[in-house]
Amino acid sequence: MPRSRRFFNAQNKRELLLPALFLAPALAVLLALSIYPLIYSVTISLQQETAAGITWTLGNFTRLFSDGFFWTAMGHTFVYAAVALTCEFLLGLGLALLLNNEIRGRGFFRASLLVPMMLPTVVVGVVWRLMLNPNFGAVNGTLKQFGVNTENLTWTASPKLAMLSVIAVDVWQWTPFVFLVLLAGLQAIPQEPYEAALIDGSSRWQTFWHVTLPLLKPSILIVLLLRTMDLLRVFDQIFILTEGGPGFATETISLYIYRAAFRFFDFGYAAAMSFVLLALTNVISATYIRLLQGRNA
């Protein structure tokens, strides 16, 4: 029996005691603060307070179907996620490919590029409120210097431009992350396939398409998974930048749930909506994970 088996085997009851003790606090915390809240949430979503007391009902879920605002918020969330994800991915991949060469001051560039994504999202909101402010914002101020008429460019205050503005802010903050993950992925690709491609006389484009992309696929899937999850639940920046407005123009699903719970104190309905969001993110992450595992199998 190899020594590691002797020390780290935990197949019978006596040997299980130690790892169980090590695991117990973590499992207890997660059960109490992640799983129990979900169960709590299920119960409140299935209850409704009436004059006669609390009754059990599916009312909160059936109400979803006729709530136009809910579906509009869902639509906003998808538009936000799809556009931001596409821009962040294309820009991040482009930058990673460009910079996967020896460049002087690489460490400095990397450290500076990661500033946006490390900022508290509230600060990101503040930064862009200041940048996009129609009166003294640097964006309009600079555009004016170049002779652009900025009268109608009210950005987050304009029903037409508000969604574009909040998406642009997300792209600003998170493109560096996509870039860094893909750069790490590129650098982990071994040299041999490239030499083979060189000998076969494949063009640079062919090499990119048939060597680089397939070998980069795991990193791509991971970064897309992480970004999709974050984009679908986006709350902070939009809350600071527009509070879902003007009107309902940038209301995403998380903001709508927040409003239902903490402005209208309709906790049951908020819980019901949050389950739709949870189901949605689960389906999407499961799909990504299947794609990831399919590649490795």
């Binding site: 169980a20 020896e102 500033v115 491609a197 992480l226 600071i240 998380s254």
Partner: protein
């Protein structure tokens, strides 16, 4: 692993249609886009209110003043929010590290029955995947039931649970990177299990532990939604909630807001620089070992 990456030349045949000087220009433009907005906020925090509205915008020439910082942190309660943010971040990080490291060690080192290593790890990870708003609603009601609303304790408890899956995944990876022989030697020499973990293993994963701690500090420091939901009083609110409260009011004090936001990013910048090497690994929950 990192050293081998440095040694290997990253020069590869990619489709790059231009030379290194064009690349440098693109890079500098990217830097400008990334940093200029943050710099703009800094200038606002140091400008007098009159200078805020200068047209064309003055990026470099203005008379710096500390009045907004004085206003925010002395006249108003931002000093208090800062203190709350620091206490909550440090306390929740400490709790998550202790609890999470023990669990990670068990998952990385012991061969548990019923494929529990893999199953428990994935289950722990899945708890981190819940959108925050999904747990925010019930957590608010739970904290109201036990009368912990508007306390720092509520945030410490919630952030501990929030950071825990992250600690487990990161530390599990660092433990797995470490050969088992070293602990075995200590165990053969008669060291206890906990003794081997504390004296032999932890010093070896110290850099990973530090990086994980810094990540937890940043996440707790930056967190907004739970703090917004759970703390609404001056005594318990964190810096992000304090800043947000000023933003959404009708009359906005731009200078005060920028001063508070500028202070909020100082620890983040220090930490991020310290952490560069582990950044990709941390942000991808250990999935990419950049």
């Amino acid at each position: 692993m990192l050293s081998t990456q440095k040694a290997q030349k990253p020069q590869k045949r990619f489709y790059v249609p231009f030379g290194s000087s064009v690349r440098l220009v693109i890079l500098l433009l990217a830097l400008l886009f990334a940093l200029a907005p943050v710099y703009w906020m800094l200038t606002i925090s140091f400008k007098t209110e009159g200078e805020h509205f200068a047209s064309p915008p003055s990026w470099f020439v203005f008379t710096p003043t500390l009045e907004h910082y004085y206003d925010a942190f002395v006249t108003r309660s931002f000093g208090q929010y800062l203190l709350t943010s620091a206490i909550v971040a440090v306390a929740s990080t400490a709790c998550a590290l202790v609890i999470g490291t023990l669990a990670a060690y068990a998952l990385a080192r012991f061969d548990l029955p019923l494929k529990l290593n893999r199953r428990l790890s994935l289950w722990i990870l899945s708890t981190r995947m819940f959108p925050a708003i999904v747990t925010a609603v019930p957590l608010f009601l739970m904290m109201r039931d036990v009368q912990l609303l508007n306390t720092r304790a509520a945030l410490i408890i919630v952030y501990t649970a929030f950071n825990l899956p992250f600690v487990v995944w990161m530390m599990r990876g660092f433990f797995a990177d470490l050969p088992r022989d070293l602990e075995e030697a200590a165990l053969v020499d008669g060291d206890s299990r906990l003794g081997a973990l504390v004296r032999v293993v932890l010093p070896l994963v110290a850099p990973g532990l530090a990086a994980t701690a810094v990540f937890c500090l940043i996440v707790s420091w930056n967190e907004f939604l739970f703090a917004l939901v759970l703390t609404q009083t001056d005594a318990a609110m964190t810096l992000p909630v304090g800043i947000a409260g000023r933003v959404t009011q009708y009359e906005i004090k731009w200078g005060v807001m920028s001063a508070a936001a500028s202070v909020a990013i100082v620890p983040i910048l220090v930490f991020a620089l310290a952490l560069q090497k582990y950044l990709v690994r941390g942000l991808s929950m250990g999935a990419v070992k950049g």
